[in-house]
Symmetry: D5
Subunit: 149 residues, 10 copies
């Protein structure tokens, strides 16, 4: 490995996490961030602020050059227009079924605009339930209204 | 209009809502359901239980035949593999960017499985915020673990 | 025409504009908005504030019901993933060739984020040039930085 | 590395830029060109005139064979018909929403024709704004009218 | 037919041509243009100058409103990304097989640039040949060199 | 390199051409063929007759095994359904805009049939012009009439 | 039905065939052509010579204007890139599985070239077989060798 | 080469055939099968019975492990939905143009069903013809009628 | 309704079934066939034998012409390459996940071949289960072995 | 091989199975699971419980690290939207033809909902039949009813 790449860093993180028997929740707590953001930044879907990148490098014993790569703005790419993995497909299906509803309610409650996917955060929690526990996903994004000029 | 179709019912609902100056939130309250579910059922993306269909027909003054159509199981179709409307596209983008993260955290918290998109519900609320109000979306779906046999 | 649709309004605008011998620039001036925004709102790609919708209805002699439709939040749809019209394709080509460059320079000048396409405006002007006049397009969008949480 | 390829040159430029702590703006100034063009030529989306290629090779300490490759006419390829990176997607969305408007205004101001994407230049600047700074993109392309014969 | 559309004009031209037993070559001669351009403008793939539109309306006895529609800048749309008609597919195949060759020779003879498809003309002729007559297609487009700035 | 592949031969040709400072026109003259055919055969889009393959091997000092590979019938593959390179895209656009016109004129001048892309040849020349030199492309293909049986 | 279209003719043929209890084989015999060609011309996938069109019009009692439409060169369009009908899909599968084999054997027996799909004919027959009767399809197309020039 | 793969076997066959100056017809004769089947099995599009695999291994001097791989059931994959090679595309075009005709004639001669692509065989021969030799392809597949139950 | 089409018959069946309060199971029993086959034939995805078509026409009071249409071999078309309806998508997902497994086990138990989708039948039943009732689908198709020749 | 990957494990399983002359049925019996599930888990389409992974590692003599990889939740990916292999395509075809029927019967027997593809199992058996043995596939999935809220 002549030059450390972003893909190498991802692989090193996964391997170090496995060897140390850590969880994403545990890593997130160590660097003082949420599990959702920590995982997505570790996978190269978000850039890390310098202090968080340094904390992650320290926590997992990554090579020093990894820090700079963790701070870079990644080009976000997903190969599958329609995801095949059943767990991810269900989310795509929710967008297909409920997308127009979300749009209609944003318009009703805010006006003509959107929920930002940039000024955005998300939590995932496990909710106990007598008929079977449930996955709870909470998204929050800033409302952005369309301009007229 | 010889035969009332599901598309006719959707058009009649939108027109009646406009003329009466109603909101989805108001209609939902009238029939005792949530706004997300009410809108999606009105648009033909969910089937209505008989009592809710009857309540909607009464509330909006729809023709009597509309009730049966509202109770039918719809074939859920979305034409655009990647939605072009900016408000709906942002949701698609969130699935692309955070889909693998949601999958990883479900596995960490539950095991090998998915969040159901069938035994599922969702709320959308407006959250005040000094830097600009935010859209909050809460999804809850039953965890389903993969079988081995 | 039983019910006036958004498509009817677009057709009525184009027909009224042609009969009156107006230009988009002229119509825009009449309602006190820019030509880019005026055309896109007239075509159903942007919603009009109530006063602008009223002004357009008055200026072009549209039926009164048109105003409400002009104020509705449109679902923005384009059918062609890759546009075939040569004039529009050139813009697509510019995104393909210069998209990564725009991304790199936004990151260099602002940080990890994007240019908003919602809090956004655009002008198009003709610039005289001895070797052939040039089209000048100016876009301005708010910088939105990615969240970490 | 037996033969230096265009991809190698791109990688060497990025690596040299990082090690020297340079910016695209700084590199552009050194070779006397704009940042937009400099980045796109460095990435292999534009061919460099011989003197500019020589200047870049000198400025970044690239191997001598790199100059010839920087001068070659590249085959411009982008893999994603619809770009997934949010920063680049927003530009695609602008083409979808405002493409027909740009076409209509070119026709109104010039006649039946297009804005060239070949005899073309672009600038990107940061504009301060009390509600949040803005990205400004200025494109200029020669108007080309359709022939009749 | 309340409003004459561009599609109506195309249909009227085809029908008038058939009834009068005309050829595209004959029509082109009558209006003083080439057959290629005349057919493409009649089909709505090119806009006509006012005098040519008037000449066509006169020659084929079209309704007076047709002239304005023939002068409009058309939005050029083709539905099939890969054409299925064998006669048109062969042209697509030629682009696939010889496209890179045409690019290489343009670069060799002119420099880094393209052949314009806007400042462009084409002729089609029948060439007698002892082993079977041949179709000859001649295209001519202005060379446009890439800018650097 | 254990076994010389067709891709290796292409790379060797390009490299030898560069080192010797040759042009496609020059190479074509040396082997007594046209530049269009010579380039396309060198790139693996046409098979070479034995004497021409031998001449090319001699002219560029290629390894002896290259001759057999140059004589093989290649499987013609292009990856991009719609080419992104601007120079090649313009040709695709010409097929989209003028394809139906070429079809109509072939039918008018010959009958129900096509222009062959197999019994086919092409020339590309530079034509001087006071307003900017032009690219001239001449295609000639045998007319093939549909059978009835 | 103001103007008889090609689609109308197809529908009239199918309806007349049904009412008269005819078969494609019978119709083909009446007009003195093969069943394959007769069906494809009746469906608008081949143009008919004048005498055959006249014979078909007479045989089925079609309106007189149908003859001209049957003689027109059709634009051959199939909507499904991959056909879904099982009977037609099997043919597509055969091309996928055996296409490279057919290519290799044409090259071995003829040289570098193709089997024409224009100077082409086909027969379909039923062959009795003790383990179940078989469909026999015989295709014959002129070999066309690639040009070099 | 640690483990011999199916792709290795294909490459070894092609190389051995070239070195020995054999033809597919010759190899087919040696192993007592048809050229179409022999080529397709050699390319990994059909599995070989043990004795035929052994005969091929012996005839071409392949390594012993090749036999087992030649007997494996291959997963049949073709990458291009629409084949670009002109020789293979013509077959695809024939399916597009004549597919509905083949379906109609199978129904007329057999009933509601298909021609099997599994219980299937094919021959390719060269037929002399004064106007140019012709490629003859004969396919034979068992008729399978749809079940009702 | 001048001419009764296959689509009309489908609509009449659905409407008659609704008015009479019938189930598919009930209709199937009346005509002496299985519910799966009866529904698919009623929807135009299978042709009906004459006696079954007559029985269906009688049972539902369809117009007499419907019988002939029910007997026709339908062209089986599905518009969505990947079905969006959640109930149908789950079946597509099962093919994606378990397709290679089904192939491997068919090969292990039968040899190199496939399960026919033509000589095929299917049952769907409800199976009671303490943790929630289950859908049971049983498919049975004739094994077809690949030919060698 | 520095790090054992999931792909390595799949390859090792296939190789060990071949060398030991085992069948999927045999392996499944050894680890006490069904052949369908065993094959799909071995191919990386299902995660293995720890004891089953240990049993497989022991049975096939896999390296110890393989166990952890067999227990990981795989990301399920299939590359081909429409599978080309004839054996797998037939399953896709069954979904296209009978998907709407399965949906209709689920609704009739259960209500508005789906058959789960997660809480799911499948068997494949060989059924003897005088006209040719048949493949029997039995699927069983939990019925999941849509929520209303």
């Amino acid at each position: 490995m002549d030059v450390l790449t972003r893909e190498d860093v991802t692989a090193l993180i996964i391997s170090a996490k496995k060897q140390a028997g850590l969880t994403w929740e545990g890593i997130a707590e160590t660097i003082g961030m949420s599990p959702v953001w920590t995982h997505s930044a570790a996978m190269g879907m978000n850039a890390m602020p310098a202090d968080k990148a340094a904390a992650l490098v320290a926590a997992l014993g990554l090579p020093q050059e990894a820090q700079g790569l963790l701070e870079d703005s990644p080009t976000k790419v997903w190969e599958q227009t329609v995801p095949t993995d059943p767990c991810i497909y269900r989310l795509y299906e929710i967008v297909g079924v409920y997308g127009p509803t979300i749009k209609a309610l944003i318009h009703e409650k805010f006006g003509d605009g959107i929920m930002s996917a940039i000024d955005f955060d998300m939590q995932l929690t496990r909710v106990e339930h007598p008929k079977g526990d449930r996955v709870k996903i909470e998204m929050s994004g800033k409302y952005l209204g369309y301009n007229s000029w």
